[in-house]
Symmetry: C2
Subunit: 403 residues, 2 copies
């Protein structure tokens, strides 16, 4: 037989290589200062604490840690999540906690349980690209939610009710969103929850960055304002290590059984070894000491980038200073196209992610995401200086607007 | 709002709690000798080798092991799989290897890329329940493949061609299948591959137990006989540890990109730490020394169970002695129903899994799966003796066939 015997599912037409991964292939060259990656700084990984925890787990509970384990997750780790959520204003029981392979798997499970071919799902503009990728195989129709510097706006839900009946959920990142770095005020959270309730549109709240605040913690979670109508996703990737792939879903009781069955079908369970090691690291308050160190480091980096942007970026550039998280979101002066300029920038020695990568529809070609957590402050200044020169040169070559 | 805002996807109707998990809840009582579980013996976990490997990884490559990592998997581990597959008669390139969270995730990714609502998928009768669970959310129609003591029969593919055009693939476990323990001869493999090719039905070959042979290795893989038409799934769960959740998919070049995109959307990547630790353990031939120890242990257990079955089971019971793997598949005498007898058996002190759990259609109520890898030979003899007493008593109470 020479003809292929394989028939692929219709949904594969919606599955595509990550644009960001393709961009990172361009930008990942020796000598290039990269502001493109979304990786936490490896300097923040608590290697010694992890090593000690591995030793303890393998000395005291190896047979359990290396055996098959419950799909729900390691019970003490689920209890830890209950306490953590109480600190975020949400009172739950451990029976609502599902441990996942990073919060990315939480997005896949939510998609599997909730998304339907042709049914609408609301997403911020722009939003986390990985969420679009996770939901895409389940063939939803994405509806862009009107957003501003605080994130999604309440009238977005009125629009959904009118234009997209049967919307399965709205996917929102209230804290230092990837890519924009924006954070939602307490008042906006109240307004959004009220609008979502009125429209009957439940929420999927993704919170990988909430602990990375600089001066003040963000307002209480959306889930705490509407527990029955919100699925919450948490992660250890940004506060401990992404290499263990540990996240969790907190779900309303009515949804939990199907999310659990989806998890079981997907991979039986999250590695028990990883769950026990992370629990050993964090059980005695380690994160209360560790996270402030990450905050201080990222804040110094943020400050360095803020200063460099003011110094080097051409007039007409716009940005808000992020109050936490990992990213600046910069709007270039009119006439510039971030994607078109990327190769020139990389040739000059600096890389970024064009913001267009993060839009479900109608990309803003002038937007750029700059990460400040991977490079040192000195390198950040150097990188932004190069970026400034590239942008000034591009403006000089651009056709002048007629007076 | 009191009404629920959640609308679940149609596919959730196909997602159900695992019957085996429900059975294990009944059987998991103190003092009960369990032949029910499918867990490898914790005595086979190489704890010291894993501890040493964790130390090495965290001493020499911690920053990489704890960072985000490629979705394809850790390159040296993928190269190891290439060498392993060459030993199974299949020549591939590392670009065909995708590292997954156990082979269960491989099943989910195959389902996501290949299954379509209403499109047929062929499965053995009986088959691994977890595969049915993995495929179910993608709403295939399961077609039972005619099978015998060697597994699927070649005419099953003629039947598929006639009765189920557009079958996406046939899912087969040629080596010491769960639950039956059966193994496919070299001749049957040739016949099956020829029939599958003639029918244009590609194969998904699952091989978690292939290394656990007792006297002779099984014949070369189906994939080696039809590389372009077979997706192969491998696992470290039965030969090293299930607690690290490490498996791999070997895919034809034409399918690999979509499986990779599905993996990326599902959880970004398999934990880099786990991949590096397992690679550290196995890179210098550790499994060549370790697997023979597992084989010797499981063979002694198999012998103990075989002898006990001959001694204690009532006349009319039937089984084949497994030549590898973890399970005996026993057919009880006519008139007995394994599911109906389970509570009595557990009350008497022995647990098993009724074979009915493993059928997509038309369960054989007389069949029983007995695991011989968890208990010691002494306990196995004790457990089978109890089972024999339960079965004899049930036969005594059963209505006598009229002469």
């Amino acid at each position: 037989m020479s003809a292929s015997p394989w028939i692929q599912a219709r949904r594969t037409a919606r599955m595509n290589p990550s644009l960001i991964r393709e961009i990172l292939k361009i930008t990942d060259r020796p000598g290039v200062l990269s502001l493109a990656g979304g990786l936490p700084s490896a300097d923040t990984f608590p290697i010694e604490a992890i090593q000690a925890a591995c030793d303890r787990v393998l000395s005291t509970q190896a047979r359990e840690a290396l055996q098959y384990a419950p799909s729900e997750g390691f019970a003490p780790l689920r209890d830890w999540v209950v306490a953590k959520m109480a600190g975020l204003g949400l009172n739950i029981s451990a029976s609502q906690v599902l441990v996942t392979n990073g919060s990315q798997q939480g997005l896949d499970l939510v998609g599997k349980v909730m998304c339907e071919a042709g049914a609408p799902v609301g997403v911020e503009t722009p939003t986390y690209l990985g969420a679009l990728q996770a939901f895409n195989p389940y063939e939803p129709i994405f509806k862009s939610l009107a957003s501003d510097h605080e994130g999604v706006r309440p009238e977005a839900f009125t629009a959904l009710e009118r234009e997209a009946p049967g919307t399965r959920f709205a996917y929102v990142l209230p804290n230092f969103q990837n890519p924009t770095g924006r954070v939602m005020s307490a008042q906006r959270r109240d307004e959004v929850v009220a609008a979502a309730q009125a429209a009957g549109v439940p929420l999927v709240e993704d919170n990988p960055y909430g602990d990375l605040w600089f001066d003040a913690p963000p307002a209480a979670s959306l889930a705490s304002r509407w527990p029955a109508g919100t699925v919450y996703l948490g992660s250890f990737s940004k506060v401990l290590t992404p290499g263990f792939r540990l996240g969790y879903v907190v779900a309303p009781t009515e949804l939990y059984p199907k999310l659990l069955q989806a998890k079981q079908a997907a991979d039986l369970h999250t590695p028990g070894f990883n769950q026990r090691v992370v629990y050993e690291v964090i059980k005695d308050g380690f994160l209360d000491r560790h996270i402030p160190e990450i905050r201080a480091r990222y804040k110094a980096n943020r400050d360095a980038m803020a200063e460099a942007l003011r110094q080097h970026l051409p007039q007409g550039s716009e940005w808000l200073e992020p109050q936490g998280g990992m990213f600046f979101w910069v709007r270039l002066p009119e006439g510039l196209d971030a994607m078109a300029l990327l190769e020139t920038a990389v040739a000059a020695g600096v890389a970024y992610v064009p913001g267009a990568a993060f839009f479900a529809h109608q990309a803003d070609v002038r937007s750029v995401r700059l990460s400040y957590v991977t490079l040192t402050p000195e390198r950040i200044r150097e990188a932004v200086a190069i970026l400034g020169r590239v942008l000034h040169a591009a403006l000089d070559q651009a056709p002048q607007p007629t007076p």
